[in-house]
């Protein structure tokens, strides 16, 4: 693995970790998600709110059977589109949105790498 590939791997890992950690934080508010099915998730009543994560405030809002998290300070967006999907599965549409929200350079290269290795 060369340097660039290692950087891309780190970016992907950070995204996956953030999804996992933000949902773990969210579960404190709305209850354990792993015990729910699709219908139950879709009917969760706590649709919007604020979370404290890594000493920063993140807003969350319900999207279908997932949640969209946004850092209230820097605008970073982490969307977990489907709470029934494993965190390791990369949803490329939302991954691209995450990269864009960070104003990352070479987004197309990171995406290409992710699609090749995790698609």
């Amino acid at each position: 693995m060369n340097n660039k590939e290692q950087i891309y791997e780190d970016i992907i890992e950070t995204f996956v970790d953030k999804k996992r950690q933000l949902v773990a934080q969210l579960e404190i508010e709305i209850g354990k998600i792993e015990k729910m099915n699709m219908i139950e998730i879709s009917l969760l009543s706590n649709k919007n709110g604020l979370l404290q994560f890594n000493s920063q405030k993140w807003s969350y809002k319900k999207h279908g059977i997932g949640y969209r998290f946004e850092n209230t300070i820097n605008g970073e967006i982490v969307e977990v589109g489907n709470l029934l999907m494993s965190f390791d599965e990369i949803d490329f549409f939302h991954f691209e949105e995450y990269l864009e929200s960070l104003n990352m350079q070479d987004i197309h290269l990171v995406l290409e790498y992710a699609k090749m290795n995790y698609g």
């Binding site: 099915n37 219908i39 279908g64 489907n82």
Partner: protein, 167 residues
């Protein structure tokens, strides 16, 4: 009475009957079904529109996105995402996995998952999107209906057809 017409061949017939019944206009994708029954994933035959015991038995139908009702108000939608998906759909047709919908007590269908894809499809002028129809209990259906009312009150009409819910 509902408007599930999962296996009628001609979309126009489905449209007419669906319209008469006041529900969503559903037609099976691929125009291949030959009767009012269709095969499940395991090869079993299920009557179109009959209740499915669980999510595993859900079936994919084609549905007019304008006939579906949102459970998300405008503030729960992300305009940039809708625009982005709509742009892609205008170019390539429907993009993404089938949406998930559930039938309500009034015979209309609420979106369970796929609000942004539905809004984008409407914006892109797409008239048929693939949808999984999930079976829900009466209590769940009532909860969805309450969500739809909330969503309409919270500006869902910006992205979806709302007024027809009351007809």
């Amino acid at each position: 009475m509902g408007g599930v017409i999962g296996s009628i061949n001609a979309p126009t017939i489905g449209a007419i009957i669906g319209g008469l019944l006041g529900g969503a206009i559903l037609t099976a994708p691929g125009d291949t079904p030959k009767s009012d029954k269709q095969k499940g994933k395991d090869g079993s035959i299920a009557a179109a529109g009959s209740p499915q015991p669980d999510d595993e038995d859900e079936k994919v139908v084609s549905v007019d996105p304008k006939s579906l009702f949102s459970r998300q108000g405008k503030n729960e939608m992300t305009g940039t995402s809708v625009n982005k998906i709509a742009k892609s759909m205008s170019k390539n047709g429907y993009v993404g996995k089938p949406i998930t919908i559930a039938k309500l007590g009034n015979g209309k269908f609420a979106i369970v998952d796929g609000h942004h894809r539905v809004a984008a499809a409407i914006r892109a002028g797409i008239s048929n999107v693939p949808a999984n129809v999930v079976n829900v209990s009466r209590a769940q259906s009532s909860a969805y209906m309450a969500d739809v009312f909330d969503a309409i009150a919270n500006g869902a009409g910006k992205y979806f057809s709302s007024s027809r819910f009351y007809r």
